[in-house]
Point group: C2
Chain length 334, copies 2
């Protein structure tokens, strides 16, 4: 059987079952959240990894190598942000074809270094190997403090409870707009520049994750697969349903300008915005907003259920989940 028949999530479940049960008492969060977490002596260590393969996760020739370097690190930082942590140390693995150009790798590292500097990340090691195709894999370690009661302070996927508010940071859909522009525009259109920047230079929300933790929020995820699908991951992990109020979803202004008709669907289902979904009582969300110093948009609420996201229109009627113009494209990052 080909692995493509199993699908990514089927394969993950199969491989998880093949591993010995986690026997290390320090483990707090294993396979299936944004990052792994384990107790260290005075706190909690986080670790995550993410890969970008040429031709699968980015379009060589259509994007700048410096942007690939930025994004390769940024998507990992977002996983740490999604746990409420602070990124610290990275290991960088390069798979390089023999004809890879030094100038391209220099540009890759310039972008990676800029992202590292912006987020206070230290590249502490890595590996360079020959391969038939370019790929960059980054493993990123970070940490969170323990809460006052000695429990680890983490934004987990399994912490949503009926009655909680669902909030998002920032505005959504810009990254999907950028990917669409990269694919459809014969030449870069000036009005696409902001969207392409959003797609290739995401700004992970470490600030919002930390503010949420400080405010007592304990459930969250980053938006990598798209709002609807990522909210679905939380609902599955928590054993609840969600009402998603589509008209409340904040739309990226550049997306609205460029793709007005499709903007609402792209904001609900487009991936790779790397904003955060935060789920907690309304009071905790307001406290997080105060700690962050900028507004969070409440876009729905958690209800009793078993893992379903109900998308509601302006009249409160359930509508089919927006299809997301690119939702199941091969290689969509998770």
């Amino acid at each position: 059987m080909d692995v493509s028949e199993l699908g990514e999530f089927g394969l993950i479940e199969r491989l998880r079952a093949a591993l010995p049960p986690a026997s290390d008492a320090r483990l707090l969060v294993g396979i299936g959240d944004d990052a792994a977490a384990w107790r260290s002596d005075g706190g909690c260590t986080l670790a995550t990894t993410d890969t970008m393969v040429a031709g699968i996760h980015f379009l060589p020739g259509r994007v700048a190598w410096s942007d690939v370097g930025w994004k390769a690190l940024a998507v990992n930082i977002s996983d740490i942000a999604a746990m409420g942590g602070t990124p610290a140390f990275a290991l960088v693995t390069l798979c390089l074809p023999p004809d890879a150009q030094v100038a391209d790798i220099d540009a890759l590292y310039a972008g990676l270094a800029a992202c590292a500097q912006a987020y206070g990340v230290t590249v502490a090691g890595g590996d360079i190997v020959a391969a038939p195709v370019f790929a960059i894999t980054i493993a990123l370690m970070g940490d969170t403090a323990m809460a006052a009661d000695g429990s680890p302070a983490l934004l987990r996927r399994d912490g949503a409870r009926a009655g909680d508010a669902i909030a998002v940071t920032g505005a959504l859909g810009g990254s999907a707009g950028g990917l669409r522009a990269l694919r459809e525009d014969a030449a870069p259109a000036p009005e696409s520049a902001a969207l392409i920047e959003r797609h290739m230079r995401p700004r992970p929300r470490v600030d919002a994750g930390r503010a949420a933790i400080a405010a007592g929020v304990r459930c969250g995820i980053d938006i990598s697969d798209g709002l609807v699908q990522d909210l679905g991951h939380v609902c599955n992990a928590s054993g609840v349903d969600a009402e998603l109020w589509l008209p409340r979803v904040p739309l990226d202004p550049a997306l609205v300008a460029r793709y007005p008709a499709d903007a609402p669907a792209m904001a609900a289902s487009g991936g790779e915005d790397y904003e955060l979904i935060l789920i907690a009582t309304e009071d905790a969300i307001r406290a997080a907003e105060a700690a962050l110093g900028s507004p969070l948009a409440v876009v729905g609420r958690i209800i009793e259920g078993a893992g379903v996201v109900h998308a509601l229109d302006e009249q409160g009627r359930e509508v089919p989940v927006p299809a997301g113009w690119d939702h199941l494209a091969p290689g969509r990052r998770s």
Copy 2:
């Protein structure tokens, strides 16, 4: 310019220079040792990563997928052992072509799980991506205790001092013999089985690294590139020369049986034995031997110098460094 013109070590130096200077005061060991190390609250965290690409680092069709899974984790464990640490948590990234077979991935994970169980490693997360070629990248975190004086207890590459003894664990060359058998034998020869096992199922020396730390040894490296080359890494990092007494290098008995004429050269220059080189005063080496409960072979000594390994024959005459029949093969792991 193609990256192949720069070479791996030239590229690493170039990329290191492109990164912002390490600003995190917790960092103890950055780019250029077996693993990165940083202070955690009560000790020291270690992290390393290593990749195996199909067709570059192993020969699909000639080796068992379960062995690939074992080895992918084992080579990372060896990096932690080479710092004197204990492995703990792994992140596993799979790059999978769409026609990858589920049965092969099952076998891969069976081998990986066996290695994880043997060494007490917990797989805590990872990533699965589509790619045109199979590759497995593992990031492994571990830890070491702090020494009694509060300093981090690590086996570093830069700790060799003139007068120190050079010791190795185990017997060498078996892995190079296994690789040679895989390449040269039309069908698996029974007398090659032990060598192929040595090549595909290395047994990293966590025991020896820990014993060395307990005995006060503070310089070491694992044998991945080959004894001569890895000793050269230590000499470069420490600013010393080494005398390597070739007749003292312990030879793998199966290697001697299969390739008697080439065995000494293969033991000196063949890679991927994943034994340890330990460098310390003779007394500390003897103490490590006692702590380990099995003998270490003293194969040379550190002298004043600037990074050169002098290979000496039985009469103490300097001889050309054994060429190593496969020393610069593309994709040789470092």
